[in-house]
Assembly symmetry: C2
């Protein structure tokens, strides 16, 4: 999960001086924000500060980060004609600032902890491009899949190609691992995942620079886990809405998993956080290949001391001192 | 699922003359709306027209159905003091109009099809009462569970007691089956379901009038299915985000299931609807104990002819002519 965010005073101080998109595009400031959780919390990896929708800007659909309602797409892509108009994403000229951020972070880390790059998965990015913003039921996306499957495939092809080059650019700049966020794919029926997402995710993972670990993440995916594993990734994300033992068994113990603490637990008192962190570790049973993490992002009202305490608790309980 | 709704012209005609809450409280009009899908679509059961939040009104927390944003609770219940103030729900005096609607529907149906009554499950009703309306992350509910478990238990006790009396009143008035909608329980981690929901659902099912079938429904519950089955119900709802074969195996074939067509499929052309309905029936494999249904409610933009066609397709393919 992106570890920097509004719950940190250090982050809010920088955001007071930069708009969100401006911050993403300023490698010096973005690198500083990327490093904040490493310095403040003592986490075991740095996660690039960026946004899954940066790749949408070069598509020319009118990406805007307003206040309050989240990102908006001024000209949503809804049918054949809209999709036909999309060109390939010129990653190097449009997203070079991200690679610059990666290189700066890498230098500043000087090997302290690894750096994880990331991108949105094609389905999740497409969901914004088609719906025009966040959605509850993804009706426009589903209609595009059902009514215009060739247009859907073309949209996925554009995003798979751009996303692969974007992630490989991060890897070339120094990212040791990459995380692919299919945050909203849990809205789909397994049959739809198999028909409309799985082939494209396979293509994406096949295009990634060999030798780099890829984390495949989603939320609300308890019914999709075996298909996500089939799609690819060295690590499968388990959000909090699935039992870790059960989820790991369903993706197979020959793949690693990350998760799965309920993020709201971080709002509770420390003894309760400890109890719930221990339960996640107990469920993992000391088996190699579990990366402790939250099931999804940190809520903005979370006390930063609770996050720091969680990191310490996990280090203590997993005997990594 | 509630079959009447904005996708039907007949429903919109009645709603033009009545506010939503006013319609629920008018047994003559509510009975008419309940019968509309039976007459227009040829479905195999009538579903009471009502709302899961009617039971909240006698709690005195200020329930309002506005336009657009969905229901609002003016005085959300957030802590010990708020919960302590809640009295038992006087079902007979506050919700007698629902029993009157049931009796009218029952009489009008004259045995044509059975009538299914319903209520919101205590967790889902509590989620509105605590959050103050619909929610994305249910943070207030989770904080109440984690920080004030005794208050949470007291709130659940009030709702279990009221809901049992409410459902038993519907049964006494003539409902042949009841559906318990835990629509938003899929937001919870399995550990939270086990600790904070399961005992209360067990208590609720134990209080229902013996001999009446109970349908236990939720959405986003792929990770909770075995626990929901343990909680109770003769039929477990499977939304569209779980494979029917897999979901049924996980709850056990000794219990019936209902579902699991993706509701967005009804927006697609008829041949595609036929293909997807067939896939659901194929997954059920002709096994006794599958009730064909959508995975959740009908979207308001759904063509009513598509819904009617689906009913015919299911009747034809399941050989019930």
């Amino acid at each position: 999960m992106r570890q920097a965010g509004r719950y940190m005073a250090e982050y809010r101080a920088i955001r007071a001086r930069h708009g969100f998109l401006e911050l993403c595009k300023n490698p010096e400031a973005a690198a500083e924000v990327t490093l904040q959780p490493v310095d403040r919390l003592g986490v075991d990896a740095a996660i690039l500060f960026a946004d899954i929708l940066l790749i949408v800007e070069p598509l020319g659909v009118g990406l805007e980060f307003g206040t309050g309602d989240g990102p908006r797409i001024a000209r949503p892509v809804r049918g054949d004609a809209d999709v036909a108009r999309l060109g390939a994403i010129d990653v190097d000229s449009a997203l070079g600032f991200v690679f610059d951020t990666v290189a700066r972070v890498k230098k500043a880390l000087a090997g302290r902890v690894p750096l994880i790059g990331f991108a949105g998965a094609p389905f999740t990015v497409a969901s914004y491009v088609v719906e025009g913003g966040a959605s509850r039921d993804y009706l426009h996306v589903k209609r595009l899949m059902y009514d215009a499957p060739a247009a859907w495939t073309r949209l996925m092809d554009v995003l798979v190609d751009g996303t692969a080059r974007y992630l490989n650019g991060q890897i070339a700049a120094g990212a040791e691992a990459v995380q692919v966020f299919d945050s909203w794919v849990g809205a789909l029926a397994p049959a739809d995942y198999r028909a409309f997402v799985l082939p494209h995710m396979k293509a994406l993972f096949a295009k990634l620079t060999p030798g780099t670990s890829a984390i495949h993440f989603g939320t609300g995916t308890a019914g999709l886990l075996p298909l996500m594993r089939e799609a690819g990734g060295d690590v499968i994300g388990l959000d909090w809405r699935v039992d870790l033992r059960d989820g790991w068994a369903r993706v197979g113990h020959d793949v690693a998993v990350q998760g799965n603490l309920e993020p709201a637990v971080l709002l509770a008192p420390l003894p309760y956080i400890r109890k719930r962190a221990r339960a996640v570790l107990d469920a993992a049973g000391g088996r190699a290949g579990h990366i402790f993490n939250l099931g999804h992002g940190i809520h903005k009202d979370t006390p930063v001391d609770h996050v720091k305490a969680l990191v310490d608790i996990v280090h203590e309980l997993s005997d990594r001192r």
